[in-house]
Amino acid sequence: MESMIHDMAERLFRDHVTHRMREDAASGQCPEALWTQIEEAGLTMALVPEDAGGFGVPPAEALGLVRIAGAHGLPLPLAETLIANAVLAAANMALPGGRLTIAEGEALRLERRGKKIHASGHLTLVPFARWANRIVTIGVLDGADHVLSLPVKDLIVDPAQDLAGMPRDDIELDHTLTETDAPPLPRPVGGMRGLGALIRSLATTGAMETILEMSVQYANDRVQFGRPIGRFQAIQHNLATMAGETAASRTAAEMAAGSYDTPAFALAVAAAKARAGEAAEKVGALAHQIHGAIGYTQEHALHHFTKRIWGWRDEFGTELDWTRELGRAALSSPHDTFWHFITDSAAKGTQA
């Protein structure tokens, strides 16, 4: 797919995201200057509809940015900000600019107190919360999805991190909001978990494409027994397996991105997160096997990518969460046959 915004992002990340930047980020340093450039390029608004200030690229193309960010190991919440802005726009809320993040709101309790809305509960493993201005989440009030945009400065953030050392923070919420700060969504999006799973599937795909490229390069360069190790069939077959898993993951993630905002999204994203997570396990293991001991060091770049894809498996639903959900849907489907369930799951994604 030819895309101006993809080219722009590709250039920006290639020039600025370095091994050093990923190291520094893992020890707590937010790359502020790069964020400014990302925002000035307008990338954070790509998933916002044109009438809300976006620039009218199709959602699948806008979401392609997440795959590209994953391919570069970008240590910033671009994906989270894309989703946060899109959800805020869907709820007709102001887009505050700056770094935003998203949190699953399943554990959130919303209740009315007079004219106010009270929100309480734990938000756990919130990505990049301490680097963000606001956390956007979706909770249920009176049976309807409500969007909350919470200023981080008013919250107590308990820092933690994922396997790659990226901020994943816990937040205890006990907060009173006005009704305009927690408006209902005119159209439900199925909660924040699905949207989070979508961006993690895409980022996992991008990171795996880089892991595959690094592994092919290494197999061509590394000489043992008098020849590049890529000449050995055992290595070739491992690389071919990695390519198949990566291709499946990309197809799954792009199928989910293509069904964004359609009735097919719920099943497509379940398949995507489950398939990408399974691929991550195989691709990570094979990449380390091919790289040998050097790939197991801090010094080598490989770990920034493999640790990310392993960490992302645990966010916004694990493989087990999503396969159960998909399996329940398949087994309780009103269709005559399983086949009809499968074809129908894709047909609903056809955008009008």
């Binding site: 291709a247 399996g327 499968i342």
Partner: protein, 382 residues
């Protein structure tokens, strides 16, 4: 990295009206077709069924109208193919011809060959087989020994082909053999259209598979005469012609739906009350199937645009074979009913049939090892 990018099938590729028509036809035609017959998947043979399908315009769908085809897209053909496979319809009688031999003749054949043969394929009348493997040439196709020597008015063929599926009932074979010497390992090969019903000095004998079934054959050519007009395409171009068939051969829904009858049997048993662990396994299976189907449809889209997605096809076939071979293991991990060949219980019978069928899935159409070698080279290994 383009190898991992499978562009989505074009919008509207679902062809729901066509799909419903095919489903109605199959519900009618296969009303009394038992699960154990459906388990044969695309190995099931019925000339009668193929002819009826052709009467509906669903054989040779992509062929031009002047050759009896229907000028429809590869994606419409895809819808019909997957519906046939999911229902376990007996399709092998027309399958090979419709999938690759017809398109090959249309692309490389003479006008006379096209007129004589293609309309009969589209009518569902002709069954094709493929004469490729030999006793000493399996994955290593370049080691082919069968040779065609030019004589007056045609060629004399000598050599032996093996694993030739349905040669004992087929009307034509597309024969791959040597027609000359070449320094290039891949040079000096040609393809021939062999009329199996009329050719003399040729013997076809059964090779029984481990399930006791007769699909394979050995075909011996003993100074067999073929007329000049049996040559298909350019003399010496056989290798590149065969390679161009592979994207058709390796990417279709038959590369992941071969165990589908067992999946339907399994889900029927689990529907009432499944545990969470069983739900998760069915969910994983669903995810894999949804994704494989999208990848395979993507390749159909690329074929429709005239591209040659042979690398993507190799990926579909490698992943697809892993998927369909894993179904008996999955079934056994979720249900404790033993496999019984020919058993009265349809689940037990279909499990038995499928267990014995799956080892062939990563052999036919290119072994797993060959496919992975192709994919690895496509990745840029030096």
């Amino acid at each position: 990295m383009t190898l991992t990018a499978f562009s989505p099938p074009p919008p509207g590729a679902d062809y729901d009206d066509l799909r419903q028509e095919v489903r109605a036809f199959l519900a009618d035609e296969l009303a009394d077709f038992p699960p154990i017959k459906r388990a044969e998947s695309w190995n099931g043979f019925s000339r009668d069924f193929s002819r009826k399908l052709a009467q509906r315009g669903w054989v040779g769908m992509t062929f031009p109208k002047e050759y009896g085809g229907h000028a429809r897209s590869a994606l419409e053909r895809y819808v019909v193919s997957e519906e046939l496979l999911a229902a376990g319809a007996p399709v092998i009688s027309h399958w090979i011809a419709d999938r690759q031999s017809g398109p090959l003749i249309l692309a490389k054949g003479t006008d006379d060959q096209k007129r004589r043969i293609v309309p009969r394929i589209a009518a569902g009348e002709l069954c094709f087989c493929i004469g490729m493997s030999e006793p000493d040439s399996g994955s290593d196709l370049a080691a082919t020994r069968t040779v065609a020597t030019e004589v007056e008015g045609g060629f004399r063929i000598n050599g032996t082909k093996v694993w030739t599926t349905y040669a004992h009932v087929a009307d034509y074979m597309i024969l791959f053999c040597r027609t000359g010497k070449s320094d290039d390992r891949h040079g000096g090969m040609s393809q021939f259209l062999v009329n199996l019903k009329e050719t003399e000095n040729m013997s076809i004998s059964p090779i029984i598979d481990l399930a006791g079934e007769h699909h394979f054959n050995q075909v011996v050519f003993d100074n067999t005469f073929l007329p000049s007009d049996a040559l298909l395409g350019e003399k010496g171009e056989g290798w590149s012609q065969v390679m161009s068939e592979l994207a058709f051969e390796r990417s279709g829904p038959e590369r992941f739906l071969s165990s589908f009858a067992l999946i339907e049997e399994l889900i029927r048993l689990l529907r009432e009350d499944a545990t969470e662990a069983q739900q998760a396994e069915i969910g994983r299976l669903s995810a894999h199937l949804m994704v494989l189907r999208q990848m395979s449809r993507s390749v159909a889209g690329m074929l429709n645009e005239g591209k040659n997605p042979s690398l993507q096809a190799a990926i579909v076939k490698d992943l697809g074979a892993l998927f369909e071979q894993d179904i008996p293991r999955l079934a056994r991990s979720l249900v404790t009913r033993p496999a019984v060949p020919g058993g009265r219980d349809s689940y037990a019978a279909v499990l038995a049939y499928t267990e014995l069928a799956v080892p062939s899935f990563s052999l036919r159409g290119g072994t797993r090892e060959i496919l992975r070698g192709i994919i690895a080279r496509g990745l840029g290994l030096r």
